[in-house]
Subunit: 319 residues, 2 copies
């Protein structure tokens, strides 16, 4: 029985679009920050007495339609046929709207592989997690990581980037905690298929990933922030230009972005990024967290969470 | 002394980006609807006693920095050196946020050329108006018109499209009547220079203009509406992807768009378009105006104006 913890991550340079849906190979490389306060704990035990896999999330029985194909990958690597019991708990503040498949599949990859007797290195774990959810490939790593798009299963993996000396912080603004109106997987495929801007997105975002790695190495926060906001807006612009036109943005998403732009105009280094939903994550530095929070409190009291970079996925218990 | 009236127009297939700023040649063709209830009346008299051009807007004296270079074009064509008195009044509901250079330069082109003794045909007038403001080139025409991008001064002009049998209506939703935070001319140039999506915009929008002309000829309102909304969103997506990222959308812009999407889900044919500002124009058909207004009234009472297609620019008085 093995319990693993993996933290969610927020892409600074976005991942949007698969060129191989079965292998989960992306069109572009991405760069992300793993977060301290949002994680998933998952326990896996392979038990010969089980007739089928079981899966609970926060002690609620859930379908195994996604978990079993993932466990099958682990079983194939380990030469096992035994079924497994999987128990997951998402440690995300109630209704944060951030419960993500990234931390879920990263924790499952680590717990299941170890429980199956495998000892996978970070690269192999990252490739395994990728098969569950693209963004999970980055959640094996703490702090900053890059997911190299690669060209096949063996070459598409994430790895940790050197730590920055910058005291990065992320202020999460909860705009809407409800379920997504459109699944990111379906919308991603529609963007690839119909957005006239998708080819330019691929070219430009790949160059942005390289520029971000340089900016991080140089501890150049204005460049890091600028690239972060540009990548998010270019992803959302590619989505908006698809057929049918659509946006994850809600009115308050723009309210937060306007606030971030006003903060910058006042000299506060803060940059907005949004994923497949209306919530906004604001990248800033520790000395400026108070200013960012103060600007948002009048409207978003009770809907702000500030977090720091988080650790790599790790084993909590192995017996 | 000649007085002319020209109505504003709303592009269904957008114009965004100049390949020649001096000649006002656009990168793409555009298709528009001229509106009945929004127009400019302009009176021009060439007076040998005047030492310099004068310009009043709603009886307020205004700078002639833009008017004089435009009048110089007319004087050059007419072989005149006389200065002119120009009086304009915008007939746009108070604070509608729609006071546009389109109707202004179309009315000025018609009044000034006639007052100078020129008799220009529609194509020549359209080319003249273009030099004042790109969108003015379409405001010489009533109902539907197309501005052919052309490849030089002689070939870039608008002309009327055949009238549709559809009872087109436009519901204008006033989100913000204040001045634009960013001039459209400056932002247009920045989109061309920095948006990675601009080349795809050009290719795609040009094809959309051709598709729109076909849809209009077929009186196919779902296709007309769909193309209208796509062109607007692709224009705003190209802007959002520029550097720095920016959007004219305000929170309520998205509120209106969400309402339009909900109306369509209920079977009401309504499509949103936005220009270089936060206000939303909803294209629908006469039988559905009540449903569109009813959906918006709870939030936008006093900020809705419904209008029908308007006439071509015409002379009101010539003495």
């Amino acid at each position: 029985m093995t319990t693993a913890r993996a933290h969610t991550n927020i892409a600074l340079i976005k991942y949007w679009g698969k060129r191989d849906a079965a292998l989960m190979l992306p069109y572009t490389s991405s760069v992300s920050l793993t977060l301290a306060d949002f994680y998933t704990d998952t326990t896996v035990v392979f038990d010969p007495a089980l007739p089928a896999d079981t899966f609970t999330l926060a002690d609620q029985v859930r379908p195994t339609t996604k978990v079993t194909p993932f466990l099958d990958l682990v079983r194939a690597q380990a030469g096992l046929t035994t079924r497994a019991r999987v128990r997951s708990v998402n440690h995300v503040p109630t209704a944060a709207g951030l419960a993500s498949s990234a931390s879920a599949y990263a924790a499952l990859a680590l717990a299941a592989s170890r429980a199956a007797g495998l000892t996978l290195d970070a690269q192999a774990l990252s490739r395994l997690a990728r098969r569950g959810s693209g963004s999970a490939t980055r959640s094996l790593f703490g702090g900053l990581s890059v997911w190299h798009r690669g060209h096949d299963d063996a070459t598409s993996f994430a790895e940790a980037l050197p730590a920055t000396t910058l005291p990065l912080r992320m202020v999460v603004v909860l705009v809407n905690a409800g379920p997504k109106p459109v699944s990111s997987r379906a919308l991603m495929a529609n963007t690839v298929a119909t957005s006239p801007y998708y080819p330019a997105w691929v070219t430009h975002n790949e160059a942005a990933a390289a520029a971000m790695i340089q900016a991080l190495a140089a501890n150049d926060f204005p460049a890091i922030g600028h690239l972060t906001e540009q990548s998010a807006m270019q992803m959302h612009a590619a989505i908006m230009a698809a057929d049918p036109a659509f946006t994850y943005f809600e009115p308050e998403t723009l309210t937060v972005w306007q606030t971030v732009q006003a903060l910058r105009a006042q000299g506060v280094p803060a940059y907005a990024t949004m994923d497949a939903g209306p919530n906004v994550k604001i990248l800033t530095l520790a000395p400026h967290v108070d200013a960012v929070q103060a600007a948002l409190l009048p409207r978003f009291a009770g809907r702000l969470m500030t977090t720091a970079p988080g650790p790599a996925a790790h084993i909590l218990e192995d017996q």
